[in-house]
Subunit: 460 residues, 2 copies
């Protein structure tokens, strides 16, 4: 790609516009958008964009990032802007306007006809991440009383302005959504069939509400393998559709949000390289501070036992390894449970099944880890010639086995508890679990050590 | 849903089959599959399945899970089985056969005609997760020399057997893929247009190879917003397509794999509740053992310094909190970088940009955390009346600031290094980073403490 950027830069500099136009007309709109983003100066980017054939400029525009889009809007004439807005699908236009400075929004809206302007204003009012905010109005819909012939004629006449024509929506006299019919069905049916007789209706009709959350919509589309999901208002009137390409974006956004929450980050919608240092700092520091303050508990426990318990060689040295293992065990379990809840494989009612499974896995892991730890400490002792007593190995191994079981029990319980309380289970991931498991592990560890000292099993 | 299960159980018991059939014919195939899975006995499940109308049984079958599918195959007659296999899309049949016991595969293959049998055998040989293993052959393709009229006639005649008809594939005399044409374009074009003149070809033609990895295919489909991706063999001949519903599944599988790797689990393709305790144990114990053995380093460091450094009140007590904070910082960074690499927002060449950004974020986080930690320790001292010296707070805060910066630098470097070495960056997540950061944090901590002791800044 780098060579092509170089060549086009030179062509731009020597005004070889028609040759550039020829090149661009051979390329896919997505690739043109990536190409424009690779140019260094704003001027080059805008000039290249203006060389695009009119029919693909709106498409390319919708794949560009917001910074470049804002630059383009600032550089083009009102007439060009008005053409661009008319040619964009409504959902792309709304997407763009949600992210740019207010003065750009004002200028853009001034260049659209009043009808579109009203629609855009309405769409901008839907809550973030609701069906209304990501839907588009460019769908095919017709009365259920149409014949197949009438339906296909309407599709032919309007197909170019629709975001998808592959699922068509059927309405009754009051614009209520009453059925869907795939283009596939229309095409194979005799011309005089009435649409009502071949459409999917009643239990087979799947739709969402304007205020439904995008995550639910993605789940529905995945479950039923839909190419588009119809959106209705409170009166069940068809107001828009959400297409599979936007649903795929929602799926990826929701996954990213889960990854972020699980790493104790505040979720951010921006790409890594486009997020400012300050907002990165803000997204991270909140949880870091909370978790650090929670660390006070572990410090207090250690201080308390240091005061009470006589010094045992090797006891404190094992703390990081012990807590690390507990944290890793809890992390494994909480990740599996959080993911299972997100994908619908696990539900709240499965809690006891999950807990019972985790306890069995934990017992297996705990035994193996305890035995391996004993061996590890014994080998280390031989290699380093340290004076740690063998009974100290037993304290560490016992504490480890118990910690593993506790960690796995907590790791599966907290995400399900969060779900039960209508919180996001992803918040109950690694760092949160680790902090709780740390405290419990330490208490178990010192309790076992105290018993060993009381019975004279280790030299204090 | 529970009441419907109860009602149908009773209806099954009293042989009210035609009423059940009526009910099922009103339901969506996906919902029927979930319904069947809710019945308790194998017998009920199989009986319900056999009551399905013939035209939807293959569809419902492809949404059932493997255990029930195997039971059904074992219970139905050869004739029913043969009908079922004929009616299933090839990719669904292959999916099913990949997961069931060998004796079931043998019986199923015996009931298919030799043509399908050969195809299935060929598909079963493609490597797991390759394009070949997830593609289907039920696509619409015709010679580029067809007119629009001929093309639409062919679609009408064969649409019912095709997995999608919305993107059609054009081939030359040698069955090579030379272009694609959306049904939308065919429908709006005059009947006598030659397909060659309206198809997307050359740079606009996007396809994958049978051996390409499914992750790449998902990336391509996402990037270009495709409803289906054509698959070609080494000679560029069209051999199949992959449809968007399967691509959505691939996206979710790949995300799950990343979640699992990032929590130091071996990836598993099974649902949580359907994975046996033993395979869960196996998937978890490997990394737990490796990370535990790595814990030897932290133990050795602490033992080493315990021997050299005089006892300072409060110093060891702060270790868990200090290491926790370092781990959390590294975890945040590595998660963002791993996700950025997976989504293509970050590339290897961006390494220095990423590092520079992380260092700035880390300095901000480090300063705030160090100051907050000083305050936290000071307040704790007042509340508990402990004898920790104020200079010990400075040791901990200084070590924390340095640890944060080191953790963030490592957290962004390791995933990019993994990518450079063609390893999966997701392996360089939380637990791995934490283990490395732990060691470095401890070394920094004790080094600072040693300096403070040397200069008499704390009472030893």
């Amino acid at each position: 790609m780098d060579r092509i950027v170089e060549v086009i830069s030179k062509m731009l500099a020597s005004n070889k516009f028609s040759a550039i136009k020829e090149m661009l007309s051979e390329m896919n709109v997505v690739d043109i958008a990536s190409l424009i983003e690779e140019f260094e100066t704003e001027e080059q980017q805008v000039r290249l964009f203006r060389l695009l054939p009119k029919q693909s400029s709106a498409d390319v525009f919708s794949y560009l990032d917001n910074e470049i889009r804002t630059n383009i809007v600032n550089a083009i004439t009102n007439k060009e802007l008005s053409f661009l807005m008319e040619d964009m699908f409504l959902d792309d236009a709304v997407d763009f306007l949600e992210e740019v400075p207010a003065n750009v929004v004002t200028r853009v809206l001034a260049q659209t006809d009043s009808n579109t302007r009203n629609l855009i204003n309405k769409f901008l009012q839907y809550p973030e991440n609701s069906a209304g905010s990501i839907m588009t109005i460019e769908m095919v819909s017709f009365p259920e009383t149409y014949t197949v012939k009438q339906a296909i004629e309407q599709i032919r006449a309007t197909a170019l302005d629709k975001e998808t024509i592959y699922t068509c929506y059927c309405t009754d006299g009051k614009r209520k959504l009453v059925g869907t019919v795939p283009l596939r069905r229309l095409i194979v049916s005799p011309e005089d069939t009435v649409v009502k007789d071949i459409m999917y209706d009643d239990n087979q009709l799947i739709f969402v509400n304007t205020l439904d959350d995008q995550e639910e919509i993605a789940d529905i589309a995945k479950k039923y393998d839909l190419l588009s999901v119809p959106v209705v208002d409170k009166e069940c009137r068809l107001v828009g559709i959400i297409t599979i390409d936007d649903i795929v974006d929602v799926i990826e956004d929701e996954n990213t949000e889960d990854f972020e929450k699980m790493a104790s980050l505040l979720p951010s919608e921006d790409e890594y390289l486009k997020t400012s240092v300050f907002s990165m700092f803000r997204n991270r520091i909140v949880w870091l501070l909370i978790l650090m303050v929670c660390g006070t508990f572990t410090s207090l426990i250690i201080e308390g036992f240091e005061a009470k318990l006589p010094f045992i060689i090797g006891l404190t040295a094992a703390i990081p390894m012990l807590m690390g293992t507990g944290g890793n065990c809890g992390n494994q379990t909480s990740t599996l449970v959080i993911r299972g809840l997100a994908l619908g494989d696990i539900e709240i009612k499965d809690y006891f099944k999950v807990l019972w499974k985790e306890i069995r896995v934990a017992v297996l892991c705990g035994i193996i880890l305890a035995v391996a730890n004993y061996g590890r400490m014994w080998i280390t002792k031989i290699l380093t010639g340290s004076e740690i007593e063998n009974n100290t190995f037993i304290i560490v191994s016992l504490a480890m086995a118990v910690a593993v079981i506790v960690a796995k029990a907590i790791g599966c319980s907290l995400p399900i508890l969060a779900k039960l309380m209508h919180l996001d289970p992803a918040l109950m991931a690694g760092p949160m679990i680790t902090t709780i498991v740390d405290v419990i592990t330490l208490l178990i560890y010192f309790a076992i050590a105290t018993v060993f000292v009381q019975y004279g099993l280790v030299t204090a």
